[in-house]
Point group: C2
């Protein structure tokens, strides 16, 4: 994880200070989802979808053709989002082994609360 | 600006592609507001406030005591947010010259659309 989280997970949130909201969790999440491909991954997995690594990669390629995603970037994002508890990584012990990704309950909550920001950015861009 | 915008402003938004939303503007904004102190600056200036550099710095120090903001960081964030059209920088030609920052209409829209995400992160953190 190292540089991803400017505020490590062990930093306890101190709630309000003098009427100022605590922004540590918002900062952590924004920092993570501000990275390339995070929102696309969350979008592709939203509404309870369970997708294998290979298929996820294909969906991302199909949806956003102009900037191809590399395996290194996709793996990094998946690891970070899983460590943050946003994604669930399920390993099925088959031959060959099957790995599936889906949004956790936290991830679905994030996806919903992120929607108004995404709607706004798209609206502003197209005005 | 350089590294801030992984997608330079000249990239035209291509709207939907095969039913996938265009995330270029969301990506740009998230990348910017995921940086240290961006959301605190937006919070302090929200609801039509106009604040001088010195006072802004003091408000940030007072609200979030545990992580002091440096002049270099505050200047960098103010420049980036102004270049993105989120902040307005007004220079009053007095002696000594007075510089005030406020949210633009775009900035107020961002602040509002960001609220549900911030509420969610705070709720999740305190659960």
């Amino acid at each position: 994880m190292n540089k991803i989280n400017e505020y490590p997970s062990t930093v306890k949130c101190t709630h309000e200070q003098n009427g100022y909201p605590c922004f540590i969790p918002a900062q952590r999440i924004l920092n993570l989802i501000g990275k390339k491909w995070s929102i696309q991954i969350i979008n592709v997995l939203s509404n309870g979808k369970k997708v294998r690594y290979k298929d996820l990669r294909e969906l991302l390629q199909r949806g956003w053709k102009k900037n191809k995603i590399s395996d290194a970037t996709l793996s990094a994002r998946l690891t970070e989002l899983t460590e943050e508890g946003i994604l669930i990584r399920e390993i099925h012990t088959e031959i060959p082994p099957k790995v599936e990704y889906s949004l956790s309950e936290k991830g679905e909550g994030l996806s919903e609360s992120l929607q108004s920001l995404i709607d706004w950015t798209i609206k502003v861009c197209h005005e």
